[in-house]
């Protein structure tokens, strides 16, 4: 069944009786050529591109809980490709381009909205760094625009430009950035993958990796053992736990990142705005609630819930640039587990164990990477060579000293 305007009209006339299941709930088979561990955005996208772009069949995605229940369902929905370093920018630009064509590609409305993203800066040094970054974006074929304080004032009149402790001195905008309905991304990929024959298996937790003579030949799960040709781990915050089953220690720590939503209000914020003198970012969902966030809580956590000091810090950051939010009520907060890597950049690579592959270390930037992560991981799985935009995302970059450290914080994951 394809979604179309005609289908919507005809279903409306027939009482919507004809819509079928968005994806098929599969029962595990005894063997797959590709087993993708993790039914989040990245895992589902990997399965989809593996089937669609690389023509592979006999693929399973196994998910310990419900599909899309990890970070793809608990983020602030922002997409952008405003990176500085050559190891990152081509990858994220590929991702943004995939977002731009996603809905046609998947035949699913993921509400991709290129409403723009604006990073404010507040010091001369920040301006210099943002110019360097904006130039890197343009040199990589992305878009970037430097805005003056006056331009910002006229476009975003509600920002605090009058009585600010750290006055706004300008901003770097990426007009192609924006937001996407996060849950719909998981559903869209699930539906498209399922239609290509991918088995999506929910409530199936991996309890062990079947490794014989340094070769991974399958997984054991709560729904029985499954043999596999290639086993691909794609579990974000649970990366260390799953890879520990293969005896691997990773350059990753798990940390909790909180996100917040306010009660709904009429359109106020036209795009995504980030504060540069504290950590706060905000956009407005199509339902009207402000969706915002800030720093990770800062200590290792698998708790999917946050702590109050960061709530306070985020609200302070919000009030610093958007003082008109004072009486707006915060409705709900939640936490996701971030696989914070040692340089703030991800890993898409083979492991030292044959046929075992790894995708993780997304820190808190995984959502925007979803399409490119899936495509590049599929490329690696299908061809055993890294995708051209992901050649830097290797395990060995730490021993070689080739870190991709956008923030310059070094090997302290909670600072990235």
């Amino acid at each position: 069944m394809r979604f179309s305007a005609f289908k919507i009209i005809s279903e409306a006339l027939r009482g919507h009786k004809g819509w079928d299941a968005t994806w098929r709930d599969a029962t595990p088979k005894s063997h797959y050529d590709y087993i993708i561990i993790g039914g989040g955005g990245h895992g589902l996208a990997t399965a989809y591109y593996l089937a669609r772009r690389y023509g592979k069949v006999n693929i399973a995605v196994i998910e310990k809980g419900w599909l899309g229940g990890g970070n793809v369902g608990r983020n602030t929905t922002i997409i952008r490709s405003n990176y500085m370093l050559n190891g990152n920018e081509p990858f994220y630009e590929l991702s943004l381009q995939l977002w731009e064509g996603l809905e046609q590609d998947l035949n699913y409305n993921a509400m991709v909205s290129q409403r723009g993203i604006l990073n404010l800066f507040h010091t001369d040094a920040q301006r210099d760094a943002f110019i360097r970054r904006g130039n890197a974006m343009l040199l990589n074929g992305a878009d970037a625009d430097l805005l003056t304080t006056a331009q910002i004032k006229s476009r975003y009149p509600f920002l605090n430009t009058e009585d600010a402790r750290f006055p706004i001195k300008g901003g770097l905008a990426q007009h192609r950035g924006g937001t996407v309905r996060h849950d719909a991304v998981a559903w869209g990929y699930a539906r498209a993958a399922s239609r290509l024959g991918v088995d999506i298996i929910q409530n199936c937790e991996v309890t062990g990796l079947d490794i014989k003579k340094n070769k991974c030949v399958g997984v054991t799960t709560t729904r029985g053992p499954i043999k596999g040709g290639k086993i691909a781990c794609c579990v974000a915050g649970s990366s260390s736990r799953v890879m520990a089953m293969a005896g691997m220690r990773l350059p990753i720590e798990s940390h909790v990142l909180q996100a917040f939503v306010s009660e709904g209000l009429k359109p106020l914020i036209p795009g995504v705005i980030t504060f540069g003198a504290g950590h706060f970012y905000c956009s407005q969902s199509d339902k009207g609630g402000l969706v915002f966030g800030g720093d990770i809580d800062g200590y290792n956590s698998y708790a999917q819930r946050g702590n109050l000091p960061v709530v306070e810090d985020v609200c302070e950051g919000g009030m610093a640039i958007l003082p008109n939010l004072g009486r707006l009520r915060l409705l709900r907060m939640w936490g996701g587990i971030m696989d914070m890597s040692m340089d703030g950049s991800p890993i898409i690579d083979k492991t030292p164990i044959e046929n075992l592959y790894f995708n993780g270390g997304w820190c808190y930037g995984g959502f925007k990477a979803t399409p490119a992560s899936g495509l590049c991981y599929a490329h690696l799985l299908a061809t055993d060579t890294p995708h051209e935009t992901a050649t830097a995302y290797r395990f060995d970059r730490f021993e070689k000293g080739l870190m991709i450290d956008e923030k310059g914080q070094g090997n302290q994951p909670n600072l990235h």
Binding site: R249, L250, E253, N411
Partner: protein, 95 residues
């Protein structure tokens, strides 16, 4: 979260700054033959377990002690707090 400081008693976690895994105490010898692989392991690889975790916190807004906190990374329950200097000595870091 409340951290029960071994000298000062219960204090709000907001007074502290986090560093990471307590294995950072075990800094390798920079002059040893195998220094490079030892430092790569020390600097970059972590157990990152879901469960009991020993980790370093600095009482920045307090007495400036570095502490080793034993905390459960799923429940956040803190079961032990020690002065990092004591732990370091026990682990053989005396000069």
């Amino acid at each position: 979260m409340i951290i029960n400081h071994p000298l000062l008693g219960p204090r709000d976690a907001a007074e502290f700054t986090y560093l990471g895994d307590a294995s950072l105490i075990d800094r390798p010898d920079g002059m040893a033959d195998n220094a490079l692989p030892a430092f790569i392991d020390y600097g970059y690889l972590r157990d990152n377990n879901a469960g009991e975790h020993r980790e370093l916190w600095f009482h920045e807004q307090g007495d400036r002690s570095w502490l080793v906190v034993t905390r459960h990374t799923v429940t956040h329950e803190i079961t032990n707090v020690e002065l990092a200097s004591d732990v370091a000595r026990k682990r053989g870091r005396s000069k």
